[in-house]
Symmetry: C2
Subunit: 405 residues, 2 copies
């Protein structure tokens, strides 16, 4: 008998018919002799509808009240899942974040989980019932309702799996796993049967949308095996697990691309110590996550600094940077929203030199100019023009022979 | 400075525009120097939509899960009211039934309030903020979410007003107060400026829909003055207060009528002790609220017993009654759904004889047959044919000269 946490996203519980299908699958898992804990997101577009309603009602949305509003969504979906399980003869009870003992800090809208008590969940399991827990929400140390932000329901599921020492955490979504590239861009891309947490982290950080970065980090830190799979086909998906040193490593696992960043170039700054420090400290003070940074070779005593930031933070970043222009004696500040970051990811890269050369050769042969480069031990990212991103992904997928056959 | 509890029903917060109007009024009351506690229902048709969704999803709706589902409704409306107040520069925080300390028993779907802690509400008031509380919901002694059933939000408001020793509890609704008769039936009916709790109880019990019976009972028991008024016109409505002995009493305050009951007649039962006891004990054991009971004069050693029950309970009542037929040797059981109960209510009736005679004369003059009669010290109710109910109400309203001029 295994203990499994099953997390169902918004598209998996989008309407009554979907909820019935989900209940069938939970019942099936339960009847095979497993203990099952279910975590659900809000139904389909509920969250978007609630946000729209808030905007219609008021130009001011205090974060505490926004959390109270949005946390209504999972109450609806989890109660409905319990009803459908009851109809299938399975005793099920729903638990809010607060009832499940998901204790968070007080940062409304993107709270961090501090502790998972889970007493009522354990009691429900011991009673032979299926506990159904609201994803995305918790209760703060001040006893206020909080939400966990983007990817919050995945994080709830992983945190619960860790607290309950579950054998696996299954993340049900509308795609059938993690692919070697976005199948809409590369139709011949293949589903990965197994990847390491590190690879999954790089995929999530560079545009792979299947899992949110923080839930993967949490799973890695707490050794929770993840199984990403489809609630539409129910076929086995992708296991995300600890790296197995005995296993032969694939050199390259996946190619990702990401249009969500913009590039800022600060031109003509004096090439002397302390300039970059001032700039990036100011950006950090405004909570702006700078991703890639490139500083060109100095010419005539001045240099250009380029860096990428999330497009959402572009206007704040430009304000901060422009304010510094006199202090750092820059000649110009330029913004560029037409970039994409294409990344090649693979745990085997560590022991296989030559991957970087293949990436450069492939892009050069297609006349694709590389504007910025950054690497980790298992990733190479190139910033290129965004209208060339799909071509680049297809060519790199081919070059590393990632297709099914 | 007064402490006022303002309760807004579903039609008062039906959409963004209505919520803005409500926020304006709360802000106005607050700026006059009052402390304000707000209680809200779910928006307009939210509850109906959620019930429909539950029925679509499952044929089984466990009451605990139904409560979890329905309690989502007030979270939405109260968060939106707080946002609109924030936009108006007023510090407001929303509180669930649980956060407000509305402790109930464990009867899901129609829980009774056991205690109102209200610590966070008091703290919010002391901090100069406007607490906005979810009506209709509480938390059980088992720490599960409960709902209070029909009229639940009114009950929440009155219970909070009692716990906080508020100066008044204002019930905002879509009508402008309590009328001498249903204005759709009697256009010349007038709004009552002030009535006693006892009269309001009789009105609520006999078909007046403005306030639910239990909230009026709670207000009477805890000496909470109620002010029933419109959130559409904002004009002063009807005060429901303790009877003032010094005040000259109106003989008749209001005429009500009610189509929600059916009549059952058990014919030809032996006229001997214990028969009626057996019948009504069995009905009570099935939680059926029998309203009026009439036993005819015995003829040839047998008698007929007629009684009224809510139409919703008719089929159960018939089952229970039919099952008893052999035991009580009845000759027949007849059901009649074509009845209405017309009631004349007034605190002054106690000291003014002759009201009963006027009722009988008025109905007789219009050839309206009275099938059953029941009275209290301040009410006379007659069961008549339902198609004659509106005529009866109009004629009685005239006979007691209840119109404005």
């Amino acid at each position: 008998m295994a203990l499994v946490v099953q997390k169902y996203g918004g598209s998996s519980v989008a309407d009554s018919e979907r909820i019935k299908a989900v209940a069938d699958h939970i019942a099936h898992t339960y009847r095979l002799g497993n203990q099952v804990v279910v975590v659900v997101s809000a139904m389909g577009r509920t969250t978007d509808d609630l946000i729209r309603l808030a905007k219609e009602t008021s130009s001011v949305q205090p974060p505490r009240e926004m959390d109270m509003l949005l946390s209504a969504g999972e109450r609806i979906s989890m109660a409905l899942v319990c009803m459908a399980l009851a109809e299938r003869g399975i005793s099920a009870s729903s638990y809010t974040g607060s009832q499940a003992g998901i204790i968070t800090d007080t940062v409304h809208g993107k709270a961090k989980i501090l502790e998972v008590k889970g007493d009522r969940i354990r009691a429900a399991l011991e009673a032979g019932a299926v506990p159904v827990v609201a994803g995305f929400q918790g209760v703060s140390t001040e006893k206020d309702v909080t939400t966990l932000g983007r990817g919050g329901s995945d994080t709830t599921a992983v945190a619960l799996a860790a607290a309950l020492r579950a054998d696996a955490c299954e993340i049900y979504t509308d795609v059938s796993g993690v692919f070697s590239a976005d199948p809409r861009v590369v139709p011949e891309s293949k589903r990965l049967k197994k990847i390491s947490f590190e690879e999954m982290l790089e995929i999530a950080a560079t545009g792979g949308k299947v899992l949110a970065l923080r839930s993967v980090e949490f799973a890695r830190n707490h050794h929770v095996p993840l199984h990403v799979r489809s609630s539409f086909t129910w076929e086995p998906g992708t296991w995300v697990v600890e790296e197995d040193p005995s296993m032969e490593q694939v050199v390259v696992s996946a190619i990702t691309s990401d249009n969500s960043e913009a590039k800022i170039t600060v031109a003509g700054v004096p090439d002397k110590p302390g300039i970059a420090a001032k700039l990036f400290r100011s950006l950090a003070n405004h909570s702006i996550n700078v991703d890639m940074i490139v500083q060109n070779t100095s010419r005539h005593g001045t240099t250009d600094i380029s860096f990428t930031v999330p497009k959402d933070d572009l206007s704040t970043s430009l304000e901060v940077t422009n304010r510094l222009v006199p202090e750092i004696s820059a000649s110009d500040v330029l913004a560029d929203t037409g970039i994409a970051r294409v990344s090649v990811i693979g745990a085997g890269m560590k022991t296989h030199p030559g991957v970087t050369a293949t990436v450069f050769e492939t892009l050069a042969a297609a006349q694709i100019n590389i504007e910025m480069i950054s690497t980790s031990s298992i990733r190479i990212s190139c910033v290129i023009r965004s209208d060339q991103a799909e071509t680049a992904v297809r060519l790199l997928h081919q070059a590393f022979e990632l297709s099914e056959n």
